[in-house]
Assembly symmetry: C2
Homo-oligomer: 454 residues x 2
């Protein structure tokens, strides 16, 4: 039994949905289908989710909602018409949207969630109607009825363990279940949406719950590439990688699969396959628990910008039991998470994603570290990038760090930070943002180009 998730571009229009239907029809083990909201059909198009946000904003502002609502309805209506569906499905979708608009606006965030989630929800209804229309036995599944129970606010939205039991029942349905991605309900029945990439998460939760043999994640790329194709020309395709490798790659710049989405599949040992709706014959990228790494120690290289460094020095810092803990407490008080803490003898740096900082937060953090920890020197620098070399068995490959640092030094760039030693599958370099791309290219050449010439 397989769980298939289809992303926004896979359900963007009738033509795409026909591909989806043929993919489903082709393999009877594709029994649980998770769908996103209709995405962009062409460059410059607007996703349904964004139309829904406009609609929610208009409603909250007390403006006329008709034009914005019409745009949403039109997108679905166009798809339904092009698929030759009768008017029943559009009546259902229109009624659904009207119902949501009459939802209480007292808590704007809950109202937003209601509207946004309709994108996936109505997409699932539409897909189920279409599959039924073409003669497949398919059923729209309501996440509330199916029991996808999530954490209450203000906790980050996560599925509760009870969901696993509830959702396992889908295994025994003899029809194809079409499940909307992106949202669940609290114990009290309140709708909450997952983080970005939430349909990937829903698919993974379902794959784990039904104990799927495979979780197929259909996107618009043939596979995961060894490096960002917008920076490296024709990068190598990754055929097989481990969960850990995917997770470390997605951390820094690999947007193919939302990192949180891997967890349920990983914990339930369900292999994941990244496939292309537009080219389902391509074998895609398999993500599994283990792989033989003797032939290729490096699987991929990712890079991401937008990091800041909080540098703290204090003479004899390492004699002070509790110094690091107090420093992290100050960051926690500001709700700032950190990525790495490289340290010298009398100093340490905390690498932080810059989007978490504001000038006020920065000021408070720096002054608290100065006064409460009596630091000799404290400062924050931004414009750092992280370049991450990922590969199982890298740790056991002698000379790999030497090849990587040598490659970076060929670019003339300085290495601001090296972090190796905990993860067995990654080697992290902190570099100046301006050097990020040339370093990525050079590392790619070092580890992937068949022959390297200066």
């Amino acid at each position: 039994m397989k769980v298939c998730k289809f992303g926004g571009t896979s359900v963007a229009d009738a033509q795409q949905l026909k591909k989806v239907a043929s993919i489903i029809r082709e393999d009877p083990s594709r029994k649980v289908i998770v769908v996103s909201a209709p995405g962009k059909r062409f460059d410059g198009d607007t996703k349904v989710t964004d139309l829904l946000i406009d609609l929610a904003e208009a409603a909250l502002a007390g403006q006329d909602t008709v034009p914005a609502l019409q745009k949403v309805v039109d997108r679905y209506a166009q798809i339904a018409a092009d698929l030759g569906l009768d008017s029943e499905i559009m009546a259902i979708i229109a009624a659904d949207l009207a119902g949501r608009l009459s939802f209480s606006k007292e808590n704007p965030s809950l109202f937003f969630d209601q509207l946004k989630a309709s994108g996936e929800d109505n997409s699932a209804k539409l897909v189920a109607a279409y599959l039924t229309a073409i003669g497949l036995k398919a059923e729209y599944i309501n996440p509330k009825n199916a029991g996808l129970v999530v954490t209450e606010a203000p906790a980050r939205v996560q599925a509760l363990p009870v969901s696993n039991d509830n959702l396992s029942a889908l295994r025994y349905k003899n029809s194809i279940s079409v499940f909307p991605g992106f949202f669940g309900f609290t114990k009290d029945g309140e709708l909450r949406t997952f983080d970005r990439g939430g349909s990937d998460i829903t698919g993974s939760i379902l794959a784990a719950a039904i104990g799927a043999d495979l979780y197929e994640n259909f996107t618009d790329v043939d596979c995961v590439f060894a490096a960002n194709p917008r920076i490296v020309e024709n990068p190598a395709e990754i055929e097989l990688m481990t969960y850990r490798e995917m997770r470390e790659l997605s951390y820094a710049g690999f947007a193919v699969l939302h990192d949180e989405a891997l967890m349920p599949a990983f914990k339930a040992s369900v292999p994941v396959c990244i496939k292309n709706t537009n080219n389902p014959g391509a074998q895609g990228t398999m993500i599994v628990a283990e792989r033989d790494y003797s032939k290729r120690p490096v699987t991929g290289i990712s890079a991401d910008s937008g990091f800041s460094t909080l540098y703290v020095s204090k003479y004899l810092m390492n004699r002070e039991v509790g110094f690091g803990r107090k420093l992290l407490q100050i960051l926690e008080d500001e709700n700032v998470s950190y990525e790495h803490i490289p340290s010298g003898i009398d100093n340490l740096s905390v690498i932080i994603r810059s989007h978490q900082l504001t000038p006020e937060k920065e000021f408070r953090i720096v002054s608290r570290v100065k006064t409460e920890l009596n630091a000799d020197d404290v400062h924050l620098n931004s414009n750092f990038s992280m370049v991450v070399l990922v590969g199982e068995g890298m740790k056991y490959t002698t000379g790999l760090a030497a090849r990587a640092t040598e490659a970076i030094s060929r670019t003339g760039a300085n290495i601001e930070m090296i972090n190796q030693g905990s993860s067995e599958v990654s080697l992290v370099f902190g570099v100046l943002q301006k050097d990020e791309q040339k370093i990525l290219k050079e590392l790619y050449n070092e580890f992937f180009a068949p022959s390297y010439a200066l």
Copy 2:
């Protein structure tokens, strides 16, 4: 004005003390002299401090103290006789020791401190007597009267700021002040000894207090070497280095100068010179605030064994604000300090000096991390060594990490950890203890040998 500290071997016997006297006589600006207790005269000899520990143990055990006391008295008496001093100084020393033996044994730790500190105290009295006997104007200074005030138990022994004011008065004495190293007194007049290497600390405190032009630290080596001479043959001599370089080198294996001893001199910007009592003509190693690093990015390479790694992994760890802080809190509860925290995406390692751990502590730490932090995997490994490359300006030298990692890979050893990025003056490699020496040798060859051949 200079503060000169003479270590144990420099005051071990009459012959050595004559060298000390001639060093003092040679330069009238050498006005404050700090002395250790008489050290070993030859391989297999016993230091006075160790004789004093035997004496204290005998006294606490209620045994006959005469034999152990006699050994201590004999050492001083031999020196006094060989220096041709009259019996007065030995009467003073014997009375001092008798007085200390009658000190309350209620708190064994305070009793130990009393006895141990007598080594330096009587050494200072003897040196002052000798300098006076050869016609110099010299005076033994009692640290209690001079106002070397230290923290109360149970805090780590450190000089309080008031000491600085009190001790600055020594600047205006026209005689040579002979000051015992290693101890001070709390506000309540209780004697407390500094950590290991405590005479270096006393000298540094005095140098800062009187605003010395130079703090000369006399030992039995000509200089600080770029690597451990017991491992690397004829290592390069370091002529000039910065406080930061000395501090980072002393962290891992460079026992020349106790790391804490640099702080007062560093804060007061007093340059430090490491010199050899047995070869005072050698220029020694100067330790200053800044040096031109354009010619030689690496100053020295140190290595130290006895590190353990606490590895913790948990899926999506980096999304959990507070994870690292809670982990460090668990270590703090066990009074364990850490050295480095290399981290991957979903895992981190804490590098700890193994001597802080016991099997019980390890068990408690591992089980608390498992249960309280819900970690997926937790384990402790020992037998790691840290190899540290130290040099001002290393951070600005492109390709240095590449040269270092390349050198290590030539040895066939694996790099378990790389930590670079906070300190501007060091690059730390974690390696298996068994590989430590070959790596040190290879790194030395890479950065110091005039020409390197495989």
